[in-house]
């Protein structure tokens, strides 16, 4: 059992930190503009597809650098020429805009790259096991994913809390008019933040593409979970997003690894039901079976008992 625990923790960390890369951009964009960007996971998908295409000609590493840049520029353009125009019509219009954008990007991806799974591979340089524990390999690429995600978190946190730019961004979040009156170009800050947020999503796509497979449904699979993280962590809170990401990553990973479920619980309670019981499906349910649903359960609980999220400061 110790090997399962070790690997479940490692897997949980990899997934959690990857989710954080997406959630960090989403939560900062939300706190600035007050709008949930439904197309955020689509930028993640775009990152993977761009990197795949670039890697065909120039190798993985060029893709790692170029793809997030392209996605970031695309994101900035979307904000400058799309969202900003829609902004004057209120939040609902913005919400609908990003919702439509998500569909548009998914269709565009299918149009240009087709519907098949893309053969996007890890670079040869990282194609070796980092270490072997209890007969199971932990690939170097996963280690690389961990390192990049942690690096991004530290960098982002430093910029937001320590640098001048970070101070202006934080001020623009809470008091946009005051910041504008002080002579700062608030719309430019918004565009830049949106661009960087989407670039982070793109980067997550680049590094996740080879291991989580690159296919047109990848945005859909990850999209809903990212919203869950942002809400659980507290809208607009970066540390909250980190905690929620790790929480959900580890929760899912441990739930899958745990060999417990209703049968064990019933045994503990001394209850027994015949196989023909109408609720048989319920009595034989185990934790691993519902692991991917657990985050949504957590979301409901958080919304009931702590509607602002774990670290949320906003009063709704």
């Amino acid at each position: 059992m110790p090997e399962v625990l070790v690997f479940a923790t490692l897997n949980g960390l990899v997934t959690g930190l990857l989710l954080f890369m997406l959630a960090s951009g989403l939560t900062v964009i939300f706190s600035m503009m007050g709008v949930l960007n439904f197309a955020h996971a689509s930028f993640y998908m775009l990152g993977a597809y761009f990197a795949y295409s670039i890697s065909l000609y120039f190798g993985y590493w060029t893709g790692l650098i170029l793809a997030p840049l392209i996605v970031g520029v695309l994101g900035a353009l979307v904000e400058r020429y799309g969202l900003r125009r829609v902004h004057q019509h209120g939040h609902v219009a913005e919400l609908v805009f990003t919702f439509g954008l998500a569909f548009l990007i998914e269709e565009a991806v299918q149009f240009f790259w087709g519907q098949d799974t893309k053969n996007y591979q890890t670079p040869d340089l990282l194609d070796f096991p980092l270490f072997t524990l209890f007969g199971q390999e932990f690939s170097a690429y996963r280690g690389f994913m961990l390192a990049i995600s942690i690096g991004i978190f530290i960098g982002l946190y430093q910029v937001l809390t320590r640098s001048r730019v970070g101070l202006i961004i934080q001020a623009a979040i809470s008091h946009p008019h005051m910041v504008a009156n002080l002579g700062h170009n608030v719309p430019l800050i918004f565009t830049a933040v949106f661009g960087i947020g989407t670039a982070l999503a793109g980067l997550a796509g680049v590094i996740a593409g080879p291991v989580l497979t690159t296919f047109p449904g990848m945005a859909l699979v990850l999209g809903s979970i990212v919203f869950v993280i942002v809400v659980i962590g507290g809208l607009g809170s970066l540390p909250g997003a980190l905690i929620a990401s790790l929480l959900i990553g580890l929760l899912q990973s441990y739930a899958i690894a745990a060999n417990v479920g209703m049968p064990e619980l019933l045994e503990l309670l001394g209850l027994e039901f015949p196989r023909s019981h109408p609720l048989d499906d319920l009595w034989t349910l185990n934790l691993a079976q519902i692991a991917p649903i657990l985050p949504f359960l957590l979301l409901v609980l958080v919304l009931i008992f702590r509607p602002t999220g774990l670290m949320g400061k906003r009063e709704q």
Binding site: Q110, N119, P216, Q289
Partner: protein, 426 residues
Amino acid sequence: MVHPFPLARACSRLLSIFLIILAASFSVQARAQEREPVRIGFMDPLSGPFASIGSSGLTVLEFTADYLFNSRGGILGGRMIEIVPLDNMQSPTETQIQFRRAVSEGLRIIFQGNSSAVANALNTAVTRHNRRNPGQEILQLNYSAVDPILTEENCSFWHFRFDAHAVMKLNVLTDFIARNEDIQRMYIIGQDYSFGHVVAETSERLLREKRPDIEIVGNEFHPIGQVKDFTPYVTKIVASNADAVITGNFGADMVSLARSIIDSGLDIPIYTFYAAYDGITATLGADGKNRIRLVHNDSANPIPTGERKQFYRDFKTAHPDRDVTQPRLAMALSMLVQAMEQTGGTDPYELALALEDMRFTTLSGEEVWMRGSDHQIFQDLHVSVMTDENIEFDADNSGFGLYTEHFVPAEQTVMETSCEMRRPQR
């Protein structure tokens, strides 16, 4: 000069004009009847996470219709086949909506294959519709949903299955596994829905019968199309010391699972139903060689007849990026056309009667049999390995493809059925 009967003359003129118009309209109508295409619905996911499977099926069906029939002057004396795509996003709810659309567009024949849950929903909808609308019946041609229930408890006169069901396939697969003495510990993992459950229960039962010494060290379900990363599941597989895996996964769930197993350094065979084509073979590449095995119909390599080879080559010329992923679609359409030619029309009731107990020789030169009592087809089954040796027709242009290792003739795949079909009276 005044005409003696001006009124009569006007009348006769009017009459002749009327007659001409009438005749013209009749001939237009007759020509329209002659040219009116036979419209056939194709209901499968054409968007969403499983779109690649649905759209590759659509390509194969459309190509078959054009290649075998439309380019040779059509069917039923000159009518063309028109395939109408209906995107059900692989959701039972969307299936109901698309079914209503099919009904309102006057489609009488619907091809559907992906997901047994969807096939069951469609089966229920079709059966109910046909009971309530005599004379407006709809025929469901299932080319790939393999939950046995569709030809057993829930069998319907209006449903025909052109693929071996899961228990038939698992019977062949477990025979093959049983011969491999190296396998002592088996891990079963699958999607948490009807088909996944059938695979899990049947594999366990059959292995216990055929090889009581094989220990089932894991039997796991995961939500369908929801898992981002299979590594946590693979951790459990490694910890269980399994030396083989059985899975019924398809689409992205199949690629991710196989990738995670490969990435974890676990070198054990994976026995599957759907681990090829639509980008899966290319993505697994050399890592999947001699490790992935599939149970399926219609040998992919070697291909027995020149006719089918030519079909594949012409398909490849028309669609260089695609493969003939589901050759049984060509078989199903050909059998349907044969039934139409036999009955001289497209009435679903007559077609169903003609399809019952039909024996048909496929492009591969195999004789298949559509059993009348439950509408289940019987054909040769194959277990193939993914490899790049002796591959004439590869998948995803990757150089890798499927090579038949084990073959079971159709008559040995026949299983009894519990179907008690309610046959409509006419």
